[in-house]
């Protein structure tokens, strides 16, 4: 019977959905409200949330500023393109702890810029985040550029617009959704980065406006991991719950 195909596919697919959905469901169902309230009032958690939004924002902006031009070049094609593509995708295939070690080799002590402190600094954290999230900004934007019919750009050029004007009046407006998507993906990727940040900048000092000065905390996923090691599943679950809640809220606002 024809529908047996759909039934079989749905059955196998459902098992995967359970594996992906059940943890989230039980995670929410098994939370203890008292611990969540306690954590939600904890100033350390506030600092962590501030850093967890602010740091990734910097990384996403850096990724877009340098990634959009690169994406545009890649969408048009050039000699040596394959090498560049491999480099762009490198952070996607390198284990994140290894990515952190790469960054320390490149920009840490004895690396390219001796005057810049990377280990345990805000610069290091943003660098680590940019390293792992830039590919998302580049690839999403590139896809948006590539989905634009070539002839729209031809039409712009032939009727008088230079490359700059064509980009400003035609290409960019038509790709703007892709750029926003790329920025959001890069931001989300930076928010969730654990390994590279844990290696490069486990704890970070930064200016925290509510305190009027420098404070030291960890990037959110590192903070959750640290809480897990010190306080166990229930406490780290509560912190993770708050983190997911804030992330979801920001996501909804962006949409």
């Amino acid at each position: 019977h024809g529908d047996s195909f759909v039934v079989a596919a749905a059955t196998l697919g459902s098992i995967l959905m359970v594996a992906l959905g059940l943890p989230l469901f039980l995670f929410v169902a098994r939370q203890q409200p008292s611990i969540i309230v306690e954590k939600a009032l904890n100033p350390d958690v506030h600092q962590m949330l501030y850093l967890g939004v602010y740091g990734p924002l910097l990384a996403a902006i850096v990724s877009l500023v340098f990634g959009v031009p690169l994406a545009h070049l890649l969408s048009k094609g050039f000699a040596g393109q394959q090498l560049v593509e491999s480099l762009v995708d490198l952070p996607l295939v390198v284990p994140h702890s290894v990515a952190g070690i790469l960054i320390l080799f490149g920009f840490g002590k004895g690396g390219a810029f001796p005057n810049v402190t990377v280990l345990g600094s805000m610069v290091g954290m943003v660098l680590a985040m940019t390293f792992v999230s830039a590919p998302y900004a580049v690839n999403a934007t590139r896809e948006a550029f590539e989905s634009i019919n070539d002839r729209l750009e031809y039409a712009s050029r032939i009727h008088g617009a230079s490359r700059w004007d064509t980009f400003r009046r035609v290409t960019a407006p038509l790709a703007v959704r892709g750029m926003v998507t790329g920025g959001v993906l890069a931001w989300a990727r930076a928010v969730s980065e654990f390994g590279a940040v844990a290696v490069v900048a486990y704890s970070v000092s930064f200016f925290y406006p509510p305190a009027g000065g420098e404070v030291t905390t960890q990037h959110a996923p590192v903070f959750v991991y640290g809480t897990y090691l010190q306080g166990g599943l229930a406490e780290s679950g509560a912190v993770a719950f708050i983190l997911l809640g804030v992330s979801a809220l920001i996501f909804l606002i962006i949409r």
Partner: protein, 327 residues
Amino acid sequence: MSLHADVSATFSADGAESFHVDAEFEVERGESLVILGPSGSGKTLLLETVAGFHPHDGPVTLDGQRVNDTPPEKRDFGFVFQDYALFPHMTVRENVDFGSRYHDDTRDPDELLAELGVGDLTDRYPPTLSGGEQQRVALARALAVRPEVMLLDEPLAALDVPTRQSLRDDLADVLADATAVYVTHNRTTARALADRIAVMNDGQVVQIGTPDEIFHRPESPMVARFTGSNVIDLDDAPSIRSALDVSTDGIVTIRPESVEFGDSGDVRATVDRIVREDATNRVTFVVDDVTVEAFAERAPAVGDEVWLTFPADALHVCRTYAASTSV
């Protein structure tokens, strides 16, 4: 302004065999040249290369000035695309007005749109328009910058027959005094719009001439077939050869509208097929191993035996394929 192009370029798409275009043509001021050829013959690539969208060897000159190193925006062309290529995020008026920032003397968008019969669409966005409406807007966008040369890439190909005929009429008016290169695979469109026709095949211009030359004196069977002539290989049609007293092994061509038939004539033939067209019937006859087409307002019946006449002044011997002939 006259345009001369003698371009040579190789194009390679991912995974496909590379395609070579090697073509020369010239368009005089005020002349419309139609590039006619089957799909895949490189017509569009040639036009885009002339516009400056693709790198190439060989000169493109405007009034004798070489423009190879001039970017497209400085070449003073207008371009109309098969798929319209209107900017979807701009209104119709903004589309037509697009070039006004870069040209001193542009035409008023509202007036131009009204002239082309789409004056009521100025504030709409292109994706909400029909194909015919979009192509009129695209035509307006190109005309607005008062280009020296208009380039048109199969602008009618995506349209319905009635829409196509109506836009073709307007194009004929627009192109009457313009310098233009018009690409199409449709021979009726070519004949309706061309001062001269260049037939393209496999990346090369195989014949160039007036519509009359192209349609009545094709230099190869390819051109003859593509323009709708009967192509008769005399080797396959001994009874035509003996009737015509042709002293060659060559290939002769004759336009179907020149073939006459009736109760007497040169060659006996059988009616094989009748297709009703707008004005008349297209009748296919079989003679020996070849088919011959003719037109008739009053069609015979399939299976009828008739006599065909090939008027001597309408017969043409394909030069390329028969060096020495006497008809």
